[in-house]
Amino acid sequence: MSQTVHSSGTEKPDENRRDFLTLATTAVGAVGVGCALLPFVDSMNPSKDVLALASVEVNLSNIAVGQAVKVMWRGKPVFIRHRTDREINEANEVALNELVDPQADDARVEKKEWLIVVGVCTHLGCIPMGTATGEARGDYDGWYCPCHGSHYDTSGRIRRGPAPKNLEVPTYTFLTDTSVRIG
């Protein structure tokens, strides 16, 4: 009460001080709301059980030369191709400056005969064809995406079509000569 009398009296109310307090309160409130939202936003990120399933071991002994298989890793397919000499040569012969996303074949494989790539088209996420025998492999003997017509070569590199990048190479380690751990 005395304050009311005070401010309506001789002195002007301290408007700067009041504005500062309002602004500071609003700012602290906004930060608080932001902090409270964070757990909800983060709850939509991959959960621990999803992350725990993030690696897979594959036995390579029954994949013949020239053959390729699909394995599931993190809910998407990984292509493992046992490349022939001709396919390895094709991947090495192309000049890097001809490539959309220039990358040498050496940088994409650990062992020349094994090409391991994520089987998801870098355009809009379709699964390219060419892993199973008899499927169209596109104009560069690798993979062909039926959705919007992207062609990949024998190193999984984008050669023609709307996809912007090469097929992603996942992290993997050879445990023995015939088994590999992806992830």
Partner: protein, 422 residues
Amino acid sequence: MSAPVWNNKVVKWVDDRLPVISMLHHSAYEYPTPKNLSYMWNFGSLAGFVLVTMILSGIFLVMNYTPHTSMAFESVERIMRDVNYGWLIRYIHMNGASMFFIVVFLHMFRGLYYGSYKAPREMLWWIGILILLAMMATAFMGYVLPWGQMSFWGATVITNLFSAFPIIGDPLVTWLWGGFSVDNPTLNRFFSLHYLMPFVILGLVVLHVWALHSVRSNNPTGVEIKTPQDSIPFHPYYTIKDLFGLGVFLIFFCAFVFFAPDYLGHPDNYIPANPLVTPPHIVPEWYFLPFYAILRSIDFTIFGIPAKLLGVLAMFASIVILFVIPWLDTSKVRSSKFRPVYKWFFWLFVIDTFILGYCGAKAPDDDFMGIPGLRVIVMGQLSTLYYFAHFLVVMPLVGKMERTKPLPVSISESVLKEGANA
């Protein structure tokens, strides 16, 4: 107008404490409506009817649906085969989505033709666009729920659009998925949001109607209500007209539900989702085709911005541009009835959206309408060009240069004149 006096004691008791009856009376009996509204003004109330139908049928579907990747498809088939009238409820919901878009697209074309977006109705128009965006999100997430091949791959392609954004793209997509691909967490959150969004739409509809009641309906002449002679009460005149329209619409709706329930859908969605096999031809539902065509038509790079990002931006821009048309349209005349030049461009725009829809349904390298050498992608690009040119070039220029026909003095005068000529 003064508040009504209620004679019934119960009504008066309630109304004194919560004036809900006065409010209804005010917005139905006292709300002055232009007396010349044509049947093109039926689609707003029809959209409201479809929204309620979708919410009700959806609530009953949820009673039998299981949002899990291993059971979603089967639970939908169980609804179709075992649940009493499950087939009916699902077909109503499935076709209701298409009906919603048919009605809303007609409602929007009406608004475009008669200049209903112009001052003072900009907010009304904006809320309408927000409703369209919310509808699109709802329809997309709903289509994922049956967990068929098109559900899965449609979800994959559309969520991957966000990976086009630099830096934040990939983490954003992982966040949307709740994993490293479209999977159970994605299905669960889409289910949750699909249930939420209709109520968001309902809230937006309340704002839409609120805005409508403060600026009043536009009408075929585009001339505002000036005297009481120009208007009639909404009830009973337009309630009866809306009901008649509803009857006609229900015949159309039921024809699909009972005789061609899968005509508007895609057969691939009756194959359970398989993350290892992409269907040879992924197409969205018909109501997204024009936007999909715009997305795909950008297959070139500008200023080093990759085609994928440009396509996504163009697709979003095709809807966002609607927000600014109240200022892009420079004409002082609202209704295209009195705009002899713009009228033709309007119809060209309507045809353009149909061509875009056709292009969206076809593979990019197909021949357009079987014309040899004319590729679908090229027609898609030309139609996309016109889509944007219509708003950015035609609207500002024609509005300035056109010689419009003389406007009637009032709605009433125009009605009497038309009556005399008939």
